[in-house]
Symmetry: C2
């Protein structure tokens, strides 16, 4: 076990160096970078499908799709008139900063206002790898149950926002919304929490308005040289 | 990246050796060992809560609960009159064979007929670590969407059975059951597929009858010295 920990730390150090390079690049370009993390099937791609039509007329947007093998998510996003690059990790359970740096080389433009990175579906490992993003957003769907913050604390501690998705299924589950929000705020008092349904569109406006505000701030910081 | 792969292989080799020792021990004791793997929130613990009352009068049963930090699952299972040991992995994203070997030392009896191992909620990494089990069972809930077999093939290729859980929510989702079963069988033609609701109990009888048959076979093999 000791061997594993040592190697993990070395890998994380190398990752942090490339993440810092990515972050410098994003700051120079004024790009707000959002790293989306969740269990498989919590609705990351569907959330993007709802979000892109709201924001694509206001901002230059790109999407990096992380998946172990398939290109299904990138195929879905390609229909939304934004640039998309698929990273296939070939079995690796998370994205890392070097993978993102390589994906950036595939983008056709040097500057975007907003870059979404959809991580591999996994509530554990992606939380450990800084990609150089501005913020992590964790998705939790109401069908996953209310005990997830206690069981997977790192992702919720390190996120700026949590999207509680599939609100349309609330009437058919025993999901305790108030309990979850209380537990999330105990882990991370600064957390923004959005309740929405990427399927029906309920709550999407608040989420997109928040992203719009953050994207505008990042652009202003870049122009003033403080980004 | 090369470094990472090398270390992963060394770790897997060490794991395989302990897994083989676990397997020899289980064969000698005539214990059928079931390794339950799924995304967070797919319903592993609820499935056990439905399964244990069906089987506990017929067999000596123990449960090993894997979780990163919490003891919530073990607390739930402790109410079902079976022996339960919690493994906290302290942030590690999967169980490994040495963790299971240590948990076995905490069990009060030398022989059980049936041992359930509930892995950490993660559809990726647990599939790579042999624990010495007889079979892996992958859970997939209908709310996770029909694209999961294509996106996470290893777990479904290495499983003996897939439990498609939360059938009570089928009417409220666009889950394509036939497509999923077709894709699962393409990945793994030998796969047993159970559709059930651990919440309502629908389909539980078929699942428990199958486990009962396998447990009886393992006992018979142990008695005849072929296990």
């Amino acid at each position: 076990m000791a061997l594993k920990v040592v190697m993990g730390q070395r890998l994380l150090k190398a990752n942090e160096q490339v993440a810092a390079e990515n972050r410098t690049r994003f700051a120079g370009a004024g790009t707000l970078v959002v790293n989306l993390i969740s269990s498989p099937g919590a609705g990351k791609t569907t959330l993007l499908e709802r979000t892109l039509p709201w924001l694509r007329d206001k901002f230059r947007i790109a999407v990096i799709e992380g998946d172990m093998y398939s290109v299904r998510d990138a195929q879905r996003i390609a229909g939304y008139e934004v640039e998309v690059v698929q990273i296939n990790t070939a079995g690796v359970c998370h994205l890392d900063a070097p993978m993102v740096a390589r994906a950036l080389e595939e983008l056709s433009e040097a500057r975007y206002d907003l870059l979404f990175i959809e991580n591999v579906g996994n509530l554990v490992c992606p939380a450990e790898f800084d990609l150089g993003e501005d913020l992590k957003v964790a998705l939790l769907s109401v069908t996953e149950g209310a005990d997830k913050p206690a069981k997977y604390p790192l992702v919720f501690q390190s996120a700026r926002a949590v999207v509680i998705n599939k609100s349309d299924l609330l009437p058919y589950t025993d999901f305790e919304l108030e309990t979850v929000v209380t537990e999330l705020k105990a882990l991370n008092p600064e957390l923004e929490v959005f309740l929405l349904s990427a399927k029906t569109g309920e709550g999407i406006k608040e989420w997109c308005t928040w992203l719009e505000k953050l994207t505008g701030r990042k652009q202003a910081a870049s122009r003033s040289g403080t980004g």
